[in-house]
Symmetry: C2
Subunit: 255 residues, 2 copies
């Protein structure tokens, strides 16, 4: 959070103020010393972001695929060296490059793919417990409280929030959670992914990649997100706020 000069105008007139705003930096990601892409993101947890992004993009399968990660916060660069020195296939790159926010080729045969990779976890949670969790998730975001300009994502074990991350991008926030979960070796079969943002198809893909059976948000899902969640038997909960929620898929996990 940085304070910037602003002119506040309201019914009492105009006055100069300092307004807290959230920071945005361009992190350029290098894979085996080759420039991959630049993420516009919040400046914290850049190692988690680098690893989580590669993971949820399918460029690495486990933490063991990585030799080392060096984050250079002077030049906003992250160098990831893989054990495998061959470049990822051009197809992989293509898929990666076209998969930003609301931009992806992931849809090709997406439903087929999800059908083949069904989530088998028999994890169940009580709905009141879930709402408590969403409530404490929301209270955690101090940057949002200050600036109103940030998304958050978290991982819960069904009792507590065990990973919590913030980013200006809702995709990045989920990737940061994935990165930390991977780094800490957290078993995902009995976990819940929470997000502050709307649930589009790409957020469902990321959650499925992480292996988490439950995805929950206080915001709305899209129709494609619902279809994909149903296809892989993920539990998808939207509009979880106050004393209510809508379960769009996988209702057998809600007790």
């Amino acid at each position: 959070v940085v304070d910037i000069d602003a002119l506040r105008i309201d019914k009492d007139g105009k006055r100069a103020t300092k307004e807290p705003v959230t920071e945005e930096i361009p992190l350029t990601l290098y894979l085996n010393n080759k420039e991959l892409l630049t993420l516009l993101c919040s400046p914290a947890d850049l190692k988690e972001l680098s690893i989580g992004f590669l993971y949820s993009s399918g460029l690495i399968r486990t933490l063991q695929d990585i030799e080392r990660v060096i984050v250079d916060t002077r030049n906003w660069a992250s160098y990831v060296e893989l054990k495998e020195k061959n470049d990822p296939s051009p197809l992989m790159f293509k898929r990666l490059y076209t998969s930003g926010c609301g931009r992806g080729t992931l849809f090709y045969n997406a439903l087929d793919h999800m059908n083949r990779e069904k989530i088998t976890s028999s994890f169940r949670v009580n709905w009141r417990k879930l709402l408590e969790m969403v409530d404490s998730f929301q209270k955690k975001s101090l940057i949002f409280k200050k600036t109103g300009g940030i998304h958050s994502a978290a991982l819960s074990d069904g009792e507590n929030i065990i990973v919590f991350k913030e980013d200006i991008g809702r995709h990045n926030a989920v990737d940061k959670v994935a990165g930390e979960a991977l780094m800490k070796g957290i078993a995902m079969g009995n976990s819940i992914v929470l997000t502050s943002g709307r649930i589009s198809s790409e957020i469902v893909f990321k959650t499925q990649k992480m292996g988490s059976p439950i995805l929950i948000s206080r915001s709305a899902p899209t129709d494609q997100a619902q279809k994909l969640a149903e296809a892989c038997d993920m539990t998808l909960v939207g509009f979880a706020r106050g004393q209510r929620m809508n379960v769009y898929a996988g209702r057998h996990r809600i007790g």
Copy 2:
């Protein structure tokens, strides 16, 4: 908007409902018959989106660069044929591919670039007028009211909202506005861009590309958005809601 089956849970218990959710489709964009990328977007105004995206990505400079646009809503494909049949430079493609939501290489020398392309418009608006405009902008989004899952963007001439678009992606919504403005030949020097979403650097870039001197949102800006707006002398207004607003740059245009 489609109605999908959901389980509503609240203090009165569980019951099956139909819940309205917003649609998400994968639109694959072809440029001179070559696949460019796939945008995940809302299914309306796909011609506007195609043209606006190419424009705000710098792949076309005017509407005259385009020979024809054919939108195939059966296969969700958009074929744009340019008068110039040579492919855009690889550099152009690279920049394009890395510029999704929160993902862009646009930052390289971005401040320099903005400094060179200063907005010279002497357009001014009264702050009360601006707040009225934000109010009527918000009331226009019927899909948001129904589903809570969509962004909107608009163009105003200072008196009325003359273009209004919705999309699941905040970038797409702005691109749809740019596309329609271009198709209608609207002069942008005395215009205002309104967005429902947070203002990150890429939204400032798109607004500058459109040539609009004022960008306003009821949400928060990032620090980079403020720096870029200041560099090109764009008027940037955030938190415009109720009877207040914060002017982060270009305050000389607010009367």
